[in-house]
Subunit: 198 residues, 4 copies
């Protein structure tokens, strides 16, 4: 039995995407953000990565998209799911780890750029949505475990609790009026636990 056209027979011709270039771009982006002195510019990213500008625009629609992907790559890996046995302990560990990532000034600028870019570029907003959704899911899983242990009070809504936790993080990150250190993580964990349990 013949297919009318074996499209799969030749799925691709021509040179393939250069993975090294992709990584060089994302790395250069992070480096420039960390170097901090200058504005982040597509030309500068290209020059720092040793890459043509068109290679950037071939794979990312916009500078914001590059930044967004750099964020998604470097911020995701960091935080795993702790298991200390208690909700408060888990939350404290989770937020301590989350805040630790933000000690890198480059990371703070990165997140700022993304939240900024998301306000005007749909592509960036998409990446931000996906990224934050994954982070919320992680925190949600932590709460889910508590729920299974019967630790959550009747009216507690995990979605609200998650937004409280990450809201606290982003609010302090963007406004910068108060630190995101271990003490803050512990205080956050404490109050979130109070909100979640009877």
């Amino acid at each position: 039995m013949e297919e009318p056209r074996r499209a799969a027979a030749r799925p691709h011709t021509g040179r393939r995407r250069n993975e090294a270039a992709r990584e060089a771009v994302l790395t250069a982006t992070m480096d420039l953000l960390r170097a901090s002195g200058e504005e982040l510019t597509v030309d500068r990213i290209a020059r720092a990565a040793g890459v043509g500008k068109q290679t950037i625009y071939r794979w990312w629609p916009t500078k914001g998209a590059v930044v967004a992907e750099a964020m998604a790559e470097s911020a995701t890996a960091a935080v795993g799911l702790p298991d200390t046995g208690t909700l408060r302990g888990d939350l404290a560990a989770f937020f301590r780890a989350s805040f630790a990532v933000l000690q890198d000034q480059g990371m703070v600028r990165l997140l700022g750029e993304v939240v900024t870019g998301a306000q005007r570029e749909a592509a960036v907003a998409d990446v931000l949505h996906e990224f934050t959704a994954r982070r919320r899911a992680a925190l949600g899983a932590l709460l889910q475990r508590a729920a299974e242990r019967g630790d959550l009070r009747a009216g507690a809504d995990p979605a609200v609790l998650v937004d409280l936790g990450y809201g606290f993080l982003w609010y302090r990150l963007l406004v910068g009026h108060a630190p995101l250190d271990d003490a803050a993580a512990d205080a956050l964990a404490d109050h979130l636990t109070a909100a979640a349990t009877a």
Copy 2:
């Protein structure tokens, strides 16, 4: 022949600052943000306000400063301090009013622009700091009243509670994954009350 000292008698020559122009600029800024289709540009603000560009730069140092002042003017007025007799009621009323302001799409873009601008302009950051500090003070006063009624649990930290509340608001505002409606305000009030009381 007159002395220059006469200046006191006639303290000002030439056309005075046109208050109407100032208002036209801020209004035009909000309108353009609401119209939403295009980027916010100084040229566009000037044209929409029927004002010369120089008139804008005579009174504000940068575009960000204009946006920041527009925010400070239109977002502050709105929310007063409710007094329903219970912490949960007060919080629910406070956040319902706060969220109501954000139903205006222009206001959302405005706050987004400010948070964005604050990441790169110190002047904008200052206005954002001051603005958010005032809002936190308002919420703090509300909690203070509860504390005086003896409604707060021992370990509750008003500063953390305030950041939880406003963090929730800003997080949903910027990420946009969930609504900021009356139900959200009630849920927020409920969880915040749980975190604050025994």
Copy 3:
């Protein structure tokens, strides 16, 4: 009797065109062409002229148009109408002067760029047309004087003679197989005289 709108009442507001900038651009263009080492680039013109790129694009549609205007300005002035009493003498003087202008290497590159640009940009073609028309008119006037003296043979067509003369010039200029010096001017004058007279 009222006009419906006195448009002429306010023919212009705002800053006027900066004549110094215009000249700086044209001068810088000629200088860069003479310097010769590098390609002629809008960015380079702007930098050399101490001018923003937008200022160039505000007044000229294209790089070619700038080059074309630079040509029109610097090549026109040079050649006046000689009057030696004889056609051969007039032609020799005219072409000696015309060829002299082309000893400047910058001028040669300039004309080459214009003829090049005219092949693909209508705006450049227009300037080239006007420029060459003016030059042909000058040579035509010279022939006209000879005609009035009765020096032209019956079948001689001034338009053809003019195209022969300028064709010789451009052909050697663009192909570069033979020089454009005084001897060439004299030989050209001689043969043109032979073609024009009995």
Copy 4:
């Protein structure tokens, strides 16, 4: 044990040059020039010829070289040496044939591109030099025959006459202010004859 010198013994292995590709490239170049709407681009030539870009660059050093070869192929063949018995007749026939080739708009653009390219690429200039030299030699041969018949006046310089003739052609071709039709050929022949004879 064999020396590398053995390479001479077996000068070639592998696939041979595809002659069809060479012709497709030159044909596509002419076609695109005739189609005229868009700029001539190597990518477009490759696509139109159904050929990979590398195949073009394997056989020609630059785009200009392709264009130059296309010119050399299509413009040379056309014009032979007429023999009408008189100089005027020979010249008229020669230029009528030469001008006829230029009725093809593609040919005009082609020559324009070559003259253009010659201004900046030595390789193209070389081809142009050789091509024009051959054409001049053809016209020179025609004049030589007249000289042998004793038809040329004493002071007539064949090199100048040739440049006058081809200058006329190229000048009208590039500036485009007047046609290159049979009447023009006849007028050119007439004036050139007058310049060459007593």
